[in-house]
């Protein structure tokens, strides 16, 4: 096996036994990138020289006998909506085509402290708005399993680079499914932690009350290891929660006996592909066989999730994106004689059609005379959805559903139909609205394309998710399959 094919915990063991070096790992991954990147297009930027320099430093550090962390020497890909000091950060938008942040996101700072090696910045739907990565202003990332299909989105670059072995770990961000849906499409593990579990400082905001950073990895163990090093309270993020971070590796237990697992009825009904449905039911069956108590649960408010989300997320986005005005950084139109023209032209030239659509939707939802009917009403429905989850968790330890209604769709298939694109997040959106954690793991294939199983827990129950996901993974082979590239 090549080094680039391994997981972080496997590479860590090799480094620990001095069977390899950080430089060898980095060179292996860079070699892989140079071979497959021009068919996958996962990266916005690859840090070739910096990564090798950093790897040499790490090797000196290791040989000097200093203590390693599980991330020491591990190449990590960073979604291009997370600020990296001195390194281009575009959010895959033209409006930030030349933006070099003066600071690091807290999660970036944390992995640097842990000795990880940033290998590059990955492509995304512009400002994380989309479900296919086709909304990137720069390139369309391809699904490594079938280059004619999308990798999902918005963390499509991060999910694709893990599936294609172009990085060992990758950061994603998830506002309505942007980690889990691409994980599902690309056959990798993707975790959206509880809102407040991981600092958002330095994550270019899409919808502040929904955004959360999380790991995209090759297996569940790596997801636990990765979360260990990025979770925790950050004084720079008031919405990060000051709760102790458990060692998530301890929850990697191959045992689901007597756990109560609910299968969400509404997420196996209308709009869900029948082959996806059977994959999920097979997964439920397996968990049952392994000793879990599996039952159907009905959550009637979930059908309002997409509508609620597209009011709240767009409202917050319309405000979050006001700062891109050509005054301070990023693109500034050269076609302007006065202030208003500078604003108009800069934003007209800088934002893509989907971002403009959401800014308009959100502006409308917050406008005088419409606020109560749209924004306020949506907030109320959000509470109802939360209540529905609370009720379900009074009976169940966790819930399961498909991550996405279908496997990866064809490139271009949904670009002219925003609504059908929005519906590809029908199963993931309610989780963000409720602020709870969920993980997507590979659970089958349909027409040689991966299908994802979503496991949902109550707030701060990541340990439960890891336990169920790990048990499922240990008893299946899906995660071991690799795309042919």
């Amino acid at each position: 096996m090549e080094l680039f094919e391994l997981t972080a915990h496997e590479l860590h063991a090799k480094l620990d036994r001095q069977e390899t070096s950080a430089e060898e790992i980095v060179r292996s991954v860079l070699g892989r990138i140079s071979r497959v990147e021009n068919s996958v297009f996962a990266f916005m930027t690859v840090n070739i020289d910096e990564a090798i320099t950093k790897a040499k430093e790490i090797d000196e550090y290791i040989t000097s006998g200093k203590k390693m962390t599980p991330l020491t020497g591990i190449p990590i890909a960073i979604k291009d909506n997370m600020c990296t000091r001195g390194m281009l950060t575009t959010a895959s938008s033209k409006i930030l085509r030349n933006y070099i942040p003066p600071y690091n996101a807290t999660v970036v700072e944390k992995i640097l402290q842990a000795g990880a090696i940033p290998i590059g910045k990955t492509n995304l739907d512009e400002f994380a708005m989309g479900s296919s990565t086709e909304n990137s202003a720069y390139k369309v990332t391809k699904n490594p399993w079938n280059l004619g299909t999308v990798p999902g989105g918005s963390s499509g670059g991060s999910a694709a680079c893990i599936a294609a072995d172009e990085a060992i770990l990758a950061f994603g961000s998830d506002t309505g499914g942007s980690i889990r849906q691409p994980a599902s499409f690309c056959g990798v593990v993707g975790l959206k932690p509880t809102y407040g579990r991981v600092s958002r400082y330095g994550l270019i905001a899409f919808a502040s009350s929904l955004d959360q950073i999380g790991p995209l990895t090759k297996d569940v163990t790596d997801a636990a290891i990765f979360l260990n090093s990025i979770a925790g309270h950050d004084p720079k993020d008031s919405t990060s929660v000051d709760l102790p971070v458990p060692d998530y590796r301890k929850s990697l237990i191959d045992d689901v006996k007597n756990l109560k697992i609910g299968v969400i009825k509404e997420l196996l009904g209308e709009g869900i592909g029948s082959s996806v449905k059977s994959s999920i039911l097979e997964a439920a069956e397996l968990l049952k066989k392994l000793g879990a108590k599996v039952e159907e649960v009905s959550m009637p408010t979930l059908k309002y999730g997409v509508a609620t989300y597209y009011l709240l997320a767009t409202a917050e986005a319309s405000s979050n994106l006001e700062r891109y005005d050509g005054v301070k950084y990023g693109h500034r139109s050269s076609e302007a004689d006065d202030l208003l023209a500078m604003y108009y032209n800069t934003r007209r030239e800088g934002f893509g059609p989907e971002v403009k659509r959401r800014i308009m939707l959100g502006t409308y939802a917050l406008s005088a005379g419409y606020y109560d009917a749209y924004y306020l009403k949506a907030q109320k429905v959000r509470t109802l959805i939360k209540n529905d989850f609370d009720k379900a968790f009074s009976k169940f330890d966790c819930l399961i559903s498909p991550t996405a209604p279908s496997p990866a769709f064809k490139i271009g298939e949904k670009t002219d139909d925003p609504l059908s694109m929005y519906l590809s997040d029908i199963a993931t959106i309610p989780i963000n609205l409720a602020g709870i954690p969920a993980i997507s793991i590979p659970c089958g294939f349909v027409n040689d394309l991966p299908v994802g199983l979503q496991i949902i827990g109550k707030a701060f129950s990541e340990e439960m998710l890891f336990r169920v996901a790990y048990t499922y993974e240990q008893n299946t082979e899906w995660h071991k399959r690799k795309p042919k590239l």
Partner: protein, 481 residues
């Protein structure tokens, strides 16, 4: 027809915290452009605000002093509008759930107490400053620069009920409020520098009627005097319009200190839709009772209480007590002096007389002087002992203040001690009488004022150092001979 004015004020006070409201940058005024900035206050992509606890403390302190209710749960909101001095293009402010609700301040007008209600107190961030190249304003300039030093400086907005009925009342309210804020130590109260700003909502109604008329909002009043002037001008304008049957247009008007008039800035139709919504990057503020109680203990004596105490305990007349308490620094200096000196009235005379006159000439505050209360008292003690005369002390005080020196130094250097020695004085008096025979004759023939001329000559000969009482006594005796 006779009209009654209905006025409500919106006051913005910059809070005296060391760091900004949502980041750790310094709030220091006058630093080089864009030197007190960071990723947060320049609105870089991805940054998040973190609330400065001291800012909340200052607003609660003000709320308690104004007898308002501190909210159990208060929420920040985004006020969205585009302007280059606002880096995020939204201002973090408060909307539906302000930090303090209710309260009042009593203002004394023509000897009567007037109760002015406070609607709310909320917190927000200040904007930056635009500098236009090649012109005083945007118009005609060749380019504009932004200075973000002020961006994120904490602002406390105090909104009054429409309880004010005249420009005079508005001015008095502002003066008293400024005093209160300075006493609380939450704002330096400097209107000229913009650390205290005031907007007014003004409408007129026929005297005796209850319904409110259409209001206008007046902005850009940069001193207490301009508050009064602007309101007088706006009331006059509205009265003239109503008198000639015209309707008032709801609009925002800008006051111009030079012309003393207000001009339209934007109409109601042009008013922004700020699209307020709760700030998702901050958690609600929920001050617990214990903390509020602790804050309430930090409120020291307020202006009215101090005034009453100075009158009662130290026997000062109301006028003296008013002048002293109107400037907290002056009052503090006075009280420091009182610890070393018993004669409160004499101290007050010197402070509100010569000392204040000196400060006015130099255009400085008492905080800027470089002599201590103890040094000031040394001077008063020398006067009381008769070592220096009241008259020469005036000059000595100026020298003390100019050079930051002790009275003893100056006296020793100039030999300015008072001459009370009778034999020394007698010699001088004999000379004066010899050189002014006419005055001597005049006095002896009953023209009493001639005495003052002679005393004046004695003072002149001693460069003001003669003890005037002793000189007068000796001169009178000598003239009788």
């Amino acid at each position: 027809m006779k009209y009654e004015a209905v006025i409500g004020l919106e006051i913005h006070a910059q809070l005296l915290t060391d760091s900004k409201i949502f980041c750790g940058c310094s709030t220091k005024f006058g630093a080089a452009p864009n030197s007190n900035i960071c990723p947060v206050c320049t609105g870089q992509p991805g940054v998040l605000p973190v609330l400065n606890k001291k800012v909340v403390e200052f607003a609660i302190k003000t709320g308690l002093a104004l007898k308002g209710n501190v909210a159990k749960r208060s929420v920040f909101a985004r006020k969205n509008y585009f302007y280059p001095d606002l880096p995020k293009n939204y201002q973090i402010s408060q909307y539906e759930l302000p930090l303090v609700v209710g309260g009042h301040m009593d203002v004394t007008i023509d000897g009567k107490i007037k109760h002015i209600g406070i609607t709310r107190i909320h917190l927000e961030e200040d904007a930056g400053k635009l500098v236009h190249k090649g012109a005083a304003g945007l118009k005609g300039s060749t380019g504009s620069l932004v200075d973000f030093n002020r961006t994120g400086v904490p602002l406390m907005e105090i909104v009054t009920e429409p309880d004010i009925r005249s420009p005079e009342e508005a001015k008095l309210f502002m003066q008293d409020l400024r005093n209160l804020l300075v006493y609380l130590g939450v704002c330096d109260g400097n209107m000229e520098e913009g650390s205290l700003r005031c907007d007014a909502n003004v409408s007129l109604r026929p005297a005796g009627k209850k319904e409110l008329g259409t209001k206008t909002e007046v902005k850009n009043m940069n001193s207490f005097k301009s508050v009064q002037k602007a309101l007088e001008s706006e009331i006059k304008r509205q009265a003239e319009m109503l008198g000639s049957g015209e309707r008032i247009v709801q609009e925002t008007r800008l006051f111009d200190d030079l012309t003393g008039t207000t001009t339209p800035m934007r109409s109601k139709e042009e008013a922004h839709d700020y699209r307020y919504f709760p700030e998702p990057d901050l958690v609600p503020v929920e001050p617990d009772k214990k903390w509020v109680d602790e804050i309430s203990k930090t409120i020291t004596e307020l202006p009215n209480a101090k005034k009453t105490r100075l009158m009662k305990d130290h026997g000062l007349p109301e006028l003296d007590a008013n002048v002293l308490t109107d400037d907290k620094a002056l009052a503090d200096f006075f009280e420091e002096c009182l610890k070393l000196y018993k004669n409160a009235k004499n101290l007050s005379n010197w402070m509100i007389g010569d000392l204040t006159a000196y400060l006015k000439v130099k255009k400085i505050g008492i905080k800027d002087i470089n002599i201590s209360p103890a040094q000031f008292i040394e001077m008063l003690n020398l006067i009381d002992k008769g070592t220096i005369s009241r008259n020469s002390a005036k000059g000595i005080m100026v020298k003390m203040l100019d050079g930051g020196r002790s009275v003893n130094d100056i006296v020793a250097e100039s030999g300015a001690t008072q001459i009370s020695d009778e034999s020394e004085l007698l010699k001088i008096i004999t000379d004066v009488m010899k050189n002014n025979p006419k005055s001597v004759t005049d006095y002896k023939s009953g023209k009493e004022p001639a005495l003052f001329h002679l005393i004046g000559q004695v003072m002149r000969a001693t460069k003001g150092r003669a003890n005037p009482e002793t000189a007068k006594k000796l001169l009178t005796e000598a003239l009788k001979k």
